[in-house]
Amino acid sequence: MFWDKKIETLKTDDLQALQLKRLKKTISQAQKVGFFKKRLSDAGITASSIKTLDDIQKIPFTKKQDLREGYPFGFFAVPLKEIVRIHTTSGTTGKPTVVGYTKKDLDVWADLIARNMTMVGVGKEDIFQNMVNYGMFTGGLGFHYGAEKIGMTVIPSATGNTKRQIEMIRDFGVTTIHCTPSYAMHLSEVAEEMGESLDSLKTGIFGAEPWSESVRHSLEKRLGVTAFDSYGLSELFGPGVAFECKERNGLHIWHDSYLVEIIDPNTGERVSDGERGELVVTPLVKEAMPLLRYRTGDVTMLIEDGCLCKRAQKIARITGRSDDMLVIRGINVFPSQIEHVLLKIPEVGNQFMVYIDRINYLDEMTVEVEINRDFFSGELTDLAKIQKKVGKELRDSLELRTTVRLVEPGSLPRFEGKAKRVIDRREVI
């Protein structure tokens, strides 16, 4: 099943011609952003100096850090009155990255989600429960509008209250769910405890964190769904950038909308198809916030073999990060954000360690921090207050519940050179 068969199955030549045309347009659009205007003029590039798709390699990369420096609206290429929606995503040092959408952007984005949903075989007849955050996170509203576009019956259940989620699945006859794979595991456990078999479920769409084939097997078995991997990031609209088709052997990335490069994260050079590297994307259809050669930090590769479904070249499922970003319960966390929070709290030191565990299929983050000598009164209650304060500050900044452990001054490891402050004890899923 296709949502837009013509564009989804364009012949290579036609696709490349379209990509080149859209790339030039994107460069013109990017020149409306001060950051890119300067970047491009420093590199001596105009839209007309891009003659072939390979010429894109002359353009410098854009990093998440660059976007942060544009906080809040520095990367908008249109006046604010043209922006109809704002989402944010975690930044590297406290401030979030802001992404904006024009009306057209929202249409294009919903259309991409519509392609994905249609590709996995859901449509008008299906009842869809969208169990992700509906706030600043792009996964909620992104899927919502895409699912409505293809005529699904949408239940915007958002997150939390797992029992209620299960009751709705049962009572409303939900056929399709979207959530993080770890939440899906949790959901399946709670359903089991409640004695609910969730017979109506057929399709599970899981994304926002990497997950393995073994998790796929257990989710399919426990929930009775066919499980599909969904990939996206807020900087590229949100979810819907790439998606598995029914073959479920790699993700179709929408080449008419996203120009894909895979690079060696250390050298910046392109790697061959079939070789792993960092995914670099130039979105070709974004109006409010064009980006050039955006480094996603996600590690994947271009798959050489074609697909039975006749859509274009796939990327492999994401296997990790090329930077230190953590994905905890679907939320992006940089260790530098934690440092930033701790720096503002005089009662504790600046050294810290982060431990990540998966308990009952949910990610749990523990931060160890040293108590500051000068703030030790000798009273247990004062220590408990400090512990609570650190937990609250971390929660406010990361939007993530954290367990805080106070440790003795000088007891945490000091690092020379690259610090290894994060110990991820989650089993490789």
């Binding site: 009273e379 247990l380 408990a384």
Partner: protein, 144 residues
């Protein structure tokens, strides 16, 4: 009334709740020939505070600090209790009636008989009330 002589300096040591921490503290005090007269551990959420009355608080403070421990002094008082049923009630009632809150407390039974160590919110008031009620407060010189 000179209340100062009844104010006793307790040492409070921050400690993570993990094996060997108490041994490290006790070893350091032993090395300095410091005697522990009364002692308790309070625990919360992965960490705790070791509280002790010692014969040489300053020396204990300096030694533990030099070893990297986080240590503070806390003012407490010590009340003599009757070592018999109802002994604790008598003392607790005096403070309760006077509206003085006990933040924490621990007890020991030694050569002076049964002694209750109290950390209260209003130290001076507590000393006065206890004295006036006829109960016996132990002077600081008993300890250090």
């Amino acid at each position: 009334m000179d209340t100062k002589k009844y104010v006793i300096r307790q040492i409070s040591i921050f400690s993570e709740n993990r094996p060997g921490r108490l041994a490290a503290i006790a070893h350091a005090l032993g090395e300095e020939k410091i005697n522990i007269l009364a002692f308790s551990i309070a625990e919360a959420n992965g960490f705790g505070v070791v509280r002790a009355l010692v014969d040489h608080p300053e020396k204990a403070h300096d030694k533990l600090l030099s070893l990297g421990f986080n240590i503070a002094f806390t003012d407490v008082i010590a009340v003599h209790m009757k070592d018999q049923p109802g002994g604790l009630y008598e003392v607790a009632k005096i403070l309760g009636d006077a509206g003085i809150n006990i933040e924490y407390s621990y007890a020991y039974s030694g050569k002076e008989g049964a002694v209750l160590i109290l950390r209260v919110d209003l130290v001076e008031d507590a000393i006065k009330k206890i004295k006036n009620s006829g109960a016996t407060l132990l002077e600081r010189s008993v300890f250090h």
